[in-house]
Subunit: 302 residues, 2 copies
C-alpha cells in the first residue's frame, strides 16, 4: 500500500464534515472560511516515541492523546475547536496500527466536531505533530498575561494522576495519562469570567509560573487545597502525591485566575487553590503556613 | 540552556511583526485576526533526517527548505503567506545549530513577510514540521480539481535540477535542492488566470496526475517541451535529464493549467508543455509522436 492509498484508506474515513471547510484533505492546502467576528486561534504540539510516550503504547491512545493535548491548548485559550492537521511520521506502513491510531484520533475529533483538513504522512522514527485551529470572539480569548492581583486561582480537576501513570499499570492512572479529555466546554465558559488561563501540561508549578511571569504578578497557593484523587492518595503517600500534583506533567487540566466577583460563577468541579498577589513572589504554603519546598519544577526537554 | 531559554534565544529574534497577529509566540496558542473577504489557507509538511535530507545537511539550508516547501504549497493555492508555526524535534540542544537553522528560516520568512506565531521544541530524532497559513480572496484559490479540456499546461521553471542535486556536489544543483524559492508571486498572479495548479514536489508525472485525477480529465504533454536547464543538459545525457525532469522530486516549481484565452497573460519565464484533454488518458509524447515510457512515477514513502 503506498502513501496515497494509506491516506485514502484511513484519513478520509472521518465523519465530521463542517460547513466552514471549503476544501479539505486532498489539495496542496485546505481552504477555510471564517465568519465575521471570529478570531482565529492556532497551536501545534508534537509527540515523539521514547520522549512523550513509551514504545508500544496502544496506537488508539496515541491518536487520542496527540489530538487531546492540542485541543487542550485551544481550551486554555477559551477557543472552540474547528479544524486540525496531522503530520504523522511512521517507521513502516502498518495498516492495523494506522487503523487503531485513526480510531482514537477520530473518536475524539467527533466528540468536539473537529474536522481533519490536511496533513502529511512520512517515513521515519515514530512521531506526530498536530496543528489545531479554533475560533473565539475577538477580545474574549483567555491569555497568560492577564492575571490580576486578588484573582482567585482555580484548577479544573485533580492533579498528579497522569504523572503517577508513568510508573503504574493501574487503569485509572493510565487512562489519565494516555487519554485525557481536553477541557473545551470549561474553557468556553470562562471567556467572560476568568482573567488568565493555561493548561497544565508541564506541572502546576511550571505552568502557573508562566501566568505569573507573563502577567507580572505573584501567587500564593496552598498545598492542602491541591485536589488529589482518592485513587492517588490510596496508591502512594501524601508527600509523593503532592510532588506529582505540583511538579508532574501531562495533567491537561486548566489552571485559571478569576476576579473575586466572578468566583461564584465557577463550576463546583473546579477547586480554588490560592490567589494572585501584586508581590511577584510565587509562594507555596502548607496548612500550618510553613513554606513547601518542591523537589522539581516541570519537565524540561533539554 | 533549557527549552524555554532556547525558544527565547532563537525564535523570538525574528523581525517580522504583522498587524494581524494579536498574540504570537508565548501563550498556549496564537491569536490572529482575518479581514473580511479573506479565505484562510492551511498546509503542513514534515522533513525527517535520512528521508528528506541527508545527515549533516547545513542547518541554515534546512531552516530555509522546511519553510520553502510549505510556502510552495501556499503558492500552489494562489495564497499570500501570512503566518507559520514550527514544530522542531532535535536530538540535542545545540545553540550553534539552532542559530544557523533560524538564520535560514527567518531569512526566507522575511522575504515573504511571514511571521512565526508558535511552535514546539522537543527532543528526539531530527525532524521538523511547519504549518503555513495564507490568505486568498474567496473563490480565487487555485485548486487541483478545476482543470478543463483544452487548457494549456505550464510549468514555472526548469525541472530535474533538484533531483540531480541528490547525487551531485555541484553548487547549482545543490542550491536547487536545498534552498528552493517558493513561487509565491507567480501563484498570486495566477488567481484570475489559471484553472488548476499544483506544486511539483514528487515529480511532474506524479503531481500532474493529481490534477488530472481530481479534475476528471486527461493530458498530453511533450518531452521536447519539458524545460531543462543548460546545467542539467551539460552534466548528464538527455534521457537521464528527462527522467529526472519527469519523475524526480523536490523541484517546487508550479504546474498549472490555463484556458487558451488567458495563455497570453502567462509570464514568459513559464513554459507550455502540453494541454488538457477530455479523454482521461495521460499521454507523454516525444517530438516524433512516439510514446515516452517513464521509468518511475514519483517518490513514494511506503
Amino acid at each position: 500500500m503506498n502513501e496515497f492509498d494509506l491516506i485514502q484508506h484511513f484519513f478520509l474515513k472521518q465523519k465530521i464534515k463542517r460547513q466552514d471547510v471549503t476544501l479539505g484533505i486532498g489539495d496542496d492546502a485546505a481552504l477555510l472560511s471564517l465568519k465575521k467576528g471570529q478570531s482565529l486561534v492556532i497551536t501545534t504540539d508534537t509527540m515523539v516515541e521514547g520522549v512523550h510516550f513509551k514504545p508500544h503504547t496502544h496506537p488508539a491512545h496515541l491518536g487520542h492523546k496527540i489530538l487531546a493535548v492540542n485541543l487542550s491548548d485551544l481550551a486554555a485559550m477559551g477557543a472552540t475547536p474547528a479544524w486540525v492537521t496531522l503530520a504523522l511520521t511512521l517507521p513502516e506502513a502498518n495498516p492495523a496500527w494506522l487503523e487503531a491510531f485513526g480510531s482514537g484520533f477520530f473518536s475524539l475529533a467527533e466528540q468536539f466536531q473537529v474536522e481533519l483538513i490536511g496533513g502529511d504522512l512520512t517515513r521515519g522514527p515514530l512521531s506526530m505533530t498536530v496543528g489545531a485551529y479554533g475560533l473565539v470572539p475577538p477580545g474574549l480569548a483567555l491569555r497568560r498575561d492577564t492575571a490580576k492581583p486578588l484573582d482567585k486561582i482555580f484548577v479544573s480537576n485533580t492533579l498528579g494522576d497522569a504523572a503517577f501513570g508513568l510508573t503504574s499499570a493501574n487503569p485509572f492512572f493510565l487512562k489519565k495519562l494516555e487519554t485525557p479529555i481536553p477541557e473545551i466546554t470549561l474553557g468556553e465558559s470562562l471567556r467572560n469570567t476568568a482573567h488568565a488561563c493555561i493548561d497544565v501540561s508541564d506541572g502546576l508549578i511550571a505552568d502557573l509560573s508562566h501566568i505569573l511571569a507573563k502577567s507580572g504578578v505573584g501567587a500564593t497557593i496552598f498545598t492542602h487545597k491541591i485536589p488529589l484523587s482518592e485513587e492517588l492518595k490510596k496508591h502512594t503517600d501524601y508527600e509523593k502525591a503532592l510532588t506529582l500534583a505540583l511538579s508532574g506533567g501531562d495533567d491537561y487540566v486548566l489552571c485559571f485566575t478569576v476576579p473575586p466577583k466572578n468566583a461564584h460563577k465557577i463550576s463546583s468541579k473546579c477547586t480554588e487553590i490560592g490567589f494572585i498577589t501584586e508581590n511577584p513572589e510565587f509562594r507555596i504554603l502548607n496548612e500550618d503556613s510553613s513554606t513547601y519546598s518542591p523537589i522539581t519544577a516541570g519537565y524540561q526537554h533539554f
